[in-house]
Amino acid sequence: MEPRALGPPGLLALGVLGSLLALGAQAQLAAAGPEPALWPLPRAVQMSPRLLQLAPANFSIGHGPNSTAGPSCSLLQEAFRRYNEYIFGSYKMHQDLAKFQVGTQLQQLLVTIILESECNSFPSMSSDESYTLTVREPVASLKANKVWGALRGLETFSQLIYQDSYGTFTINEANIIDSPRFPHRGILIDTSRHYLPVKNILKTLDAMAFNKFNVLHWHIVDDQSFPYQSITFPELSNKGSYTLSHVYTPNDVSKVIEYARLRGIRVIPEFDTPGHTQSWGKGQKDLLTPCYKGQKQADSVGPINPMLNTTYTFLTMFFKEISKVFPDQLIHLGGDEVEFDCWASNPNIQNFMKKKGFGQDFTKLESFYVQKLLDIIASMNKGSIVWQEVFDNNNELQPGTIIQVWKLERYASELSQVTASGFPAILSAPWYLDLISYGEDWRKYYLVEPLNFQGSDKQKKLVLGGEACLWGEYVDATNLTPRLWPRASAVGERLWSDKTVRDLLGAYDRLSRHRCRMLRRGISAQPLFVGFCD
């Protein structure tokens, strides 16, 4: 009656399952024996067997005397409060001062920002996230060049603390030196196929910070609905959203951006064109291409109409707003899966093609559109990310355009080609978390090596990182969190930790405990396998 014998023979070989069971048993033991579970694993960790204790009422996180940031840095102030809560939770209520042996108590964590703090800035691709952490009695020290590294270090510090079997908060003396392997470590959420309440997005940002992710790729609109409430073109969401309550107001958007900033997370909005735009058509007349059936105009519309000047006037105004509303240096312009049938059916488009000398090659028309759009974005001093088709279909692209590789087939060779052409790349092909399967699929995400493709060192340096994508066809607020976590955590460690950190057994053990920690912090992360959390 249980699934052991259920799978296609060979797929769930008994041997494999046997070892999984063994793992499960091990994890239980491990969970019982208190020790820290670091996720993602830092670059260099030296742990001393010397234990220190923390008394909730007699421990604080503060600014180091030589820090360039002080109490006026609200980003750090908020982080101190947050991490105090994550570390002690409800135990903070116990005010009785525990009596510890002299010389075994950790009383303070001092956070020192060394260079210009960037306290009031937004994080960017080039933000410095490195930090060093030294835990020594009686004061631990966290040093970072910028606040962004301090945020990562606070997370690590909180992961070092555990409760021993008497419930005492305990930490090992330790030295940690850490920095990320890739600067772009993202999660894609899709708020068009299903609307996600703002609360859900904020919760996702919390969990992202626990996993040292630093980019929220917000695929905000698509064919199905247009929840982004534009100031310049309010009809877009008035007509294009599911209902008037399924929208993100300017206030919602700025709330998400600030919440993300406080956690060192960038928000990159995606406004995918010229395909995937059905919902735009409802609120913006003549934007989409009318499709034809024979000589007659049909009832349907296709991708954005690339031959009208009004299209580019609209896009200029629209993206002017977007580039202001979203502070990040990058905007994602989509460009994937453009269907040519509708363009082909339309006699005006045909004429335009002839005039431009495109023949019957609609990829040229698509390129024409994309080039114009990229120019518009460049004129606003923003950089662009596009899906891989834009690279595949274009001979000339503005240098510096970032290509996101999403097609699973031959993604390594795609990375190789993109970087050989000198373009920066982001990998998400092997990390489509919406494609669920039975069992422990996190292992397969974990074992991906992003730089495992043919290319020079120079090419490899062009890989900026990757993204775990949770497309929304079958995902909404009801199942988003357990579907994302801890599966996305596997991607989080792959993008943060050293290339050599690949041991599945150790990862299973740490990740099991990391998921229990996420549970304690209010993230309903699903189980990795049989077992329990306190």
Binding site: H194, P197, H246, I436, E473, Y474, D476, A477, Q526
Partner: protein
């Protein structure tokens, strides 16, 4: 394509009365009409018919009235009755009448669940043979009520006659691989009632943990649970679950799976499990329950005496699946016992154990359900044993297995195609919906032996973090297959209603996941 034509008719009908599209599972016969009546939430009440066998004080119905009032109208405040505009005739009560009132009893496999619902100019009446049927009718009534854009509650003129296709419509939860908090189980019982499911198959214990807090053998949970304080079900918890289920017309079928899947029993009952050998020495590992010791059967007698009195349902589930023979094989005492008995096959030893166990259970006047291996291994069982078919392909396809089981004269339960824990990308509910449980070669007598089926949610990768969205609305597909007519098979019609039903579940606070793109008026928000 009779099904298709029927589906089309149903679609037309649903369009006609607009709101019948909300019905899940689809009743036997629905006659709708565009004529509608409004319901005033402040005044509306459920009442016992003067001639009903049940009267105020029948707790099953009284509690259901309160529940459905809250589900329909919430806690208020409600908009005042609109005086302007269209005048609608209003209904201020649903009158309920039952022929027999088993108000203090438990539902059984034999309980009748049929009902008739008549909403017309003259009456608003729910008639049923039993209170259990009335519960099903109340659910249907609640699905018929809809709200206009202005917030007025309406119900259309409707006549529904309804009864289930199969008497056993179950859902299995596994509380051993992961512990499920009491509240998760109670919430699941609520949603089962919304889906007209009527058996909670509680796979309480298994290899990884023993959360059942036995009164007779407290060491079992003390040593065998994940945590003997927080990860157990106390006698009080169990009682609460059984009563909560009863009030919703749901039976609780407890499973204590033996002789395999019992590793967690070992720490609490030394000597119960077979010591495995490595060469001539015990390896320190343990295998299935040790079938050669008298002490095993003494323990089982006492343990199941408790179980028989704690769980009121006539049936117990005794498991019996996936017994691994390697440990038995390694043990010289077992070998000697085999020789003495003249067994040359370990299946004979398994049969020996199971027959002893079945005799114990029979002596307590309980019936039993077993997994199909017990039948496959030719264990001699009582003719009224129920065999649960769970293996998809082996030793034969599940439909062939059902054929064999019923041919041998046993009653069968089907769960092989309905393992909800097995997830795949996309609308996998459709495959579960398309299953026809009687699609096997067999006589009408054989078909009548299929008493229903169960959707199973095994717990290897499921706990309270992901249980609800994984269960619903996918479990609904199984629920309709087991309740509705064999002609209710149109997928488009089902998709429309199931999407609608999932939004209704969200409205009722259930974290049911989407089955396609779209939205609900009220989305789920994390707290």
């Amino acid at each position: 394509m009779a099904g298709g034509a029927l589906g089309l008719r149903l679609l037309l009908l649903a369009a006609l009365c607009g709101v019948a599209a909300a019905l899940w599972p689809w009743p036997r016969s629905v006659q709708g009409s565009p004529r509608r009546y409004c319901l005033g939430p402040a005044a509306f009440a459920f009442r016992h018919h003067a001639g009903s066998a049940a009267q105020p004080g029948c707790d099953v119905l009284d509690a259901a009235f309160a529940r459905y009032r809250r589900l329909l109208f919430g806690a208020g405040p409600w908009p005042p009755p609109s005086l302007s505009g269209q005048h609608h005739e209003s209904k201020d009560m649903l009158v309920v009448t039952v022929a027999t009132a088993e108000c203090n009893e438990f539902p059984t496999l034999e309980s009748l669940e049929n009902y008739t619902l008549t909403i017309d100019d003259d009456q608003c009446l729910l008639t049923a043979d039993t209170i259990w049927g009335a519960l099903r009718g109340l659910e249907t009534f609640s699905q018929l009520v809809w709200t206009s854009a202005e917030g007025t509650f309406f119900i259309n003129k409707t006549t529904i006659e309804d009864f289930p296709r199969f008497p056993h419509r179950g859902l299995l939860l596994d509380t051993s691989r992961h512990y499920l908090p009491l509240s998760s189980i109670l919430d699941t019982l609520d949603v089962m009632a919304y889906n007209k499911l009527n058996v909670f198959h509680w796979h309480l214990v298994d290899d990884p943990s023993f959360p059942y807090d036995s009164i007779t053998f407290p060491e079992l949970a003390r040593k065998g649970s994940y945590n003997p304080v927080t990860h157990i079900y106390t006698a009080q918890d169990v009682k609460e679950i059984i009563e909560y289920a009863r009030l919703r017309g749901i039976r609780v079928l407890a499973e204590f799976d033996t002789p395999g899947h019992t590793l967690s029993w070992g720490p609490g009952i030394p000597g119960l499990l077979t010591p495995c050998y490595s060469g001539s020495r015990p390896s320190g590992d343990f295998g299935p329950v040790n079938p050669i010791l008298n002490s095993t059967y003494e323990f089982m007698s006492l343990f199941f005496l408790e179980i028989s009195s704690v769980f009121p349902d006539f049936y117990l589930h005794l498991g019996g699946d996936e017994v691994d023979f390697t440990c038995w094989k390694s043990n010289p005492d077992i070998q000697a016992f085999m020789k003495k008995r003249g067994f040359d096959d370990f299946r004979q030893l398994e049969s020996f154990y199971i027959q002893m166990l079945l005799d114990i259970i029979s002596a307590y006047n309980k019936g039993y359900v077993v997994w199909q291996e017990v039948f496959d291994n030719k264990v001699k069982v009582r003719p009224d044993t129920i065999v649960q078919v769970w293996r998809e392909e082996k030793p034969v396809t599940y439909m062939q297995e059902v054929e064999l089981v019923t041919k041998a004269g046993f009653r069968a339960l089907l769960s092989a195609p309905w393992y909800l824990n097995r997830i795949t990308y996309g609308p996998d509910w459709k495959a579960m919906y398309n299953v026809e449980p009687l699609d096997f070669e067999g006589s009408p007598e054989q078909k009548a032996l299929v008493i229903g089926g169960e959707a199973c949610m095994w717990g290897e990768w499921v706990d309270s973090t992901n249980l609800v969205p994984r269960l619903w609305p996918r479990g609904g597909a199984v629920a309709e297959r087991l309740w509705s007519s064999n002609l209710t098979t149109d997928l488009d019609f089902a998709y429309k209603r199931l999407s609608h039903f999932r939004c209704e579940l969200l409205r009722r606070g259930v974290q049911a996941e989407p089955i396609g793109v779209g939205y609900c008026e009220q989305e789920f928000e994390e707290t």
